[in-house]
Amino acid sequence: MVSALYIHIPFCVSKCRYCSFSSFAGLNGLYDRYLLNVKKEMDQISAGCCKKMELQTVFLGGGTPTVLDPERLVNLLDHAEKLFGFAFDAEISVEANPGTVDGRALELLRQGGFDRLSLGVQSFSADELAMLGRCHSPMEADAAFKAARSAGFTNISLDLMYGLPGQTIESWRTTLITALTLEPEHLSMYQLTVEEGTPFGDLLASGKLELPDEDTVVAMDELNLELCGEAGLEMYEISNFSRPGYRCRHNINYWQNNEYHAAGAGAVSFSSGVREKRFDDPREYCRRVEAGDTVITEREELTLEASFRETVVMGLRMMDGVERECLVARFGLDPERYYGEVLEKLVAQQLVELTPTHLKVTPAGRLYSNIILAELV
């Protein structure tokens, strides 16, 4: 039963230099046509569901959804509500870029039904923002946060990035403290991953990108735990921290490897055991919806065992780990028996902990999660 919906808005004001996501700048003329087609796709998804269930979470992500004006976003959300229905306590998130929202827009979004705002702040250093190719200033980020509070958002998350080229532990500390001073309910802190095919990737390949060394990054990780702990934000996933009660339910659904609907260019859905990815280019996507062709470009269906392993691997991203009873109920498999020696070795190395109810990564294992997950995948 699917109770989550992701809608992708693949547009941005400009493309950031590290970004490998499905997003396009300069397609302003396509906005209305795109929204129309996304609605059409949602109609089809809804029609294809035999058993319908109210949505517990909706996530409008990008790109930058807020390059579209708030009326259009609210209209899109209304359409989804009409089709699927929302639970009374549903979590309805929208991503925003500080440079693209003002008080009025935030009020309209809040009144239109969005109750969780994820602000892409990334850094409070003007130099770092410029280096990343972000189109906003630290002041605009600060203003956007305050405007969101005034607009009535009581669940705000900030996205920050660390391990940036040239970044020092001091500059990161400043960014983090500035963010915590705003008292957000939720913080996502991502170590920069340089991907091939991005401007950063090219620079790295040609030796022109100087990233902080590993010791510095590890010191940043330690700082995150320390400062967030003091501020009452608890780490619940590798890159996510929240106040009690404010974990992102939509994302937890992903990490539990549960199913979700998705609509829009580049979006990935997972339903009836099948994961499907849509065409990245919004123009291609529109043409296909209009012509009645499939928008799916990749499809994946895993065997039960592979799906079990994937669920373990995804679940171990969370500090709570995976619940053994849930795995047995879902797959008929228990990690202790299934992995045998491999797991015993990880336990002996004190990288994971196996309790009667859970399997989870130990604090010592957190910085080596890929090594652990590569054993279990």
């Binding site: 992701y6 992708h8 499905s22 991502y190 170590q191 920069l192 991953t193 590993e214 010791d215 990054v217 590890v218 990780d221 590798i238 890159s239 994302n251 992903y254 990490w255 490897n257 979700y260 998705a262 580049g266 979006a267 990935v268 997972f270 994961r275 990815k277 990749e298 994946e300 994937e310 691997v313 995804m314 991203r317 190395q349 957190r366 910085l367 080596y368 999660s369 890929n370 090594i371 997950l373 590569a374 054993e375 995948v377």
Partner: protein, 598 residues
């Protein structure tokens, strides 16, 4: 018999032998350029890719000469690398003449000389051919002069061609007919057939290439191998056209093949003489030699589950490669594998590549070794080619190692650096002379172990590709040998042990440590790498601990991709060998074999 010519093309590597053969085949067979695959005689992928010939092949070219007569020209192709010189010598015995091919830009090289001497030992008539005259840098007159002065061949005989464009090739074919003698021999005498090659065919078994020296051979005859008295019934005889063509008989003077239900090429050894059971000849043809393996290395499958596959692959490969030997071997680090013997380093590389490519097994090779003689204090002698069996040094009286005589030909400006290289490599009795102004032929006695390490690569690099090199084994001499062990976090990695001369031990040890440091990925703990002789550490490096390996982001849209990255990481780890608690990748084992190119 008057209308048969048996000839070979001898040349230094890269001088265009296969291209000339291609052109001749095209001219004689009328195959269109479109249907023609380059390097016609080189059927293995690896031969085509590297542009070298490993297995010799034979082809019979029908040629209508200017005198109006039809001739059968048997081209016996030969390998062009020093590792395979025994094969070359066998191929040459089956011929009356040879084309000595010299690159018009490169001139005479060490292997040209070595091959020429081989041809002369076999009393072959020689037609010098200057190839690649179409090159802008070609200096055909200068090269012709070299041929006359260095090699003492008659310049009048020299032919010029461009195998690439085809210019001059027709004239060469005419010269073969007019200058090379037809074979001699008595078709009515007792059968004497010389085996000069054997190839394996999955359907027919071993296909033996022979030169009939005397007598006649028919299908249904029972043949006998003179070296071991093995007897077989002949199923088919024939000649090598574009495809094999069966014939009623093979008689004196002819080159052809025999199929006789022989299972492996091991049973048909080049150099052996075949005769008839019912009417045997009195004497075997001269020149038969057991193949000598000079380089040894252990081959292990990366995944221990692949041991059976590796065993099967080696057996199959041996069907077609009589020079390869293998025995079971085992290592604490790598599990079960095989100790293999090779003709040289190129042969080793070829075997490794063929195993990985044709049989799809991933391998780890140990440091190649030569065969040492250990004279023990109790008076006994042990021949050691595997560090694992090196006796306790306390029991060793002295050791000996094989020496070669190296012949190096180069422009004289590289003399100094090549002399240094030879000295570095413990070369002795270095002599030299100037065969022509500006060129030096240097000969030097060097331990074979020094040559198999990276001598050829170094020589190529210090002479900027102009130096060429050939060698022959001479004798065993006293050595000061030690066993160098590599320890990873205190554990000896037996597969990385090597036998080296004491003077080289530190440099080799340091090199191994540094290469391992580069190749072993950082792990969750610090890794100490040490090189030691006995309990004495002579070199060390450390790999610092990996502090973090985390994927920052993973949401609904990334799950598949991120999972695949983890699967890749898992597969990478599976390809590593765990020694103690350290994972060592295959590349690390290979890197230790590689020299550092300064």
């Amino acid at each position: 018999m008057k209308h048969i010519r048996n000839f070979s093309i001898i040349a230094h590597i890269d001088h265009g032998k296969s291209t000339l053969a291609d052109r001749m085949i095209q001219l004689c067979s009328g195959i269109s350029a479109r249907e023609f695959k380059d390097q016609f005689l080189d059927s293995m992928d690896i031969e085509r890719e590297r542009g070298i010939t490993i297995k010799s092949q034979t082809i019979c070219l029908p040629f209508k000469a200017r005198d109006g007569q039809e001739y059968a020209l048997n081209l016996v192709d030969t390998p062009g690398h020093v590792d395979f010189s025994y094969e070359v010598s066998r191929a040459l015995t089956s011929c009356e003449g040879a084309l000595l091919l010299v690159d018009a830009a490169q001139g005479v090289e060490a292997q040209t000389l070595a091959n020429l001497y081989l041809a002369m030992e076999n009393d072959l008539e020689i037609i010098p051919v200057v190839n690649k005259i179409d090159l802008p840098s070609a200096e055909p007159e200068k090269v012709a002069l070299q041929i006359e002065e260095d090699l003492g061949l008659d310049a009048e005989m020299t032919r010029y061609c461009s195998a690439k464009t085809g210019e001059g090739v027709q004239e060469i074919l005419e010269s073969i007919v007019s200058f090379l003698p037809p074979p001699e021999g008595d078709p009515k005498a007792e059968l004497q057939a010389l085996i000069f090659d054997a190839n394996y065919d999955a359907f027919r078994g071993t296909i033996i290439s022979v030169r009939i020296v005397n007598g006649t051979l028919r299908q249904g005859d029972t043949i006998r191998f003179m070296s071991n008295d093995a007897e077989y019934r002949v199923e088919e005889v024939g000649t090598f056209r574009i495809q094999r063509q069966s014939e009623k008989t093979l008689s004196a003077g002819m080159v052809g093949y025999i199929i006789a239900g022989i299972k492996s090429v091991q049973d048909a050894r080049p150099g052996d003489t075949i005769t008839l059971r019912d009417r045997p000849c009195a004497k075997a043809l001269p020149g038969f030699k057991e193949i000598q393996q000079v380089v040894f290395s252990s081959i292990y499958p990366i995944s221990t589950d692949d041991y059976e596959d590796l065993a099967a692959a080696l057996e199959k490969l041996q069907l077609n490669d009589a020079a390869l030997t293998f025995l079971k071997d085992s290592s604490a680090a790598l599990g079960f594998g095989f100790r293999c013997g090779f003709l040289g380093l190129l042969h080793l590389e070829v075997v490794q590549e063929r195993l990985e490519r044709e049989f799809d097994v991933s391998l780890i090779l140990t440091v190649p070794s030569v065969r040492y003689k250990c004279f023990l204090k109790d008076g006994s002698l042990q021949e050691i080619d595997n560090p694992a069996y090196y006796p306790d040094p306390a029991n060793i009286d002295y050791t000996e190692e094989p020496y070669i005589k190296a012949t190096i030909l180069m422009p004289d400006r590289y003399m100094g650096s090549v002399m240094n290289l030879c000295m570095e490599r413990r070369g002795e009795n270095t002599t030299y002379h100037y065969p022509t102004p500006g060129r030096i032929e240097l000969s030097c006695e060097i331990p074979l172990a020094e040559v198999i390490y990276d001598f050829y690569d170094r020589l190529k690099s210090i002479t900027q590709g102009y130096g060429s090199f050939d060698y022959s084994l001479i004798d065993y001499r006293k050595s000061d040998l030690v066993k160098l062990d590599i320890l990873v976090n205190g554990e000896r990695v037996d597969a990385l042990s090597q036998l080296v001369h004491r003077n080289n031990a530190r440099a080799r040890g340091l090199h191994a440590c540094e290469m391992l440091k580069e190749e072993i990925p950082r792990q969750m703990f610090k890794i100490a790498i040490q090189a030691a002789i006995g309990g004495n550490v002579i070199a060390r490096t450390t790999i610092s601990a990996l502090r973090k390996d985390v994927t920052a982001k993973c949401y609904g849209g990334d799950i598949t991709r991120k999972r695949k990255l983890l699967e890749k990481q898992k597969a990478g780890k599976k390809r590593m060998k765990t020694v103690g608690n350290v994972d060592i990748p295959q590349t690390a084992f290979l890197a230790v074999l590689k020299s550092d190119q300064k």
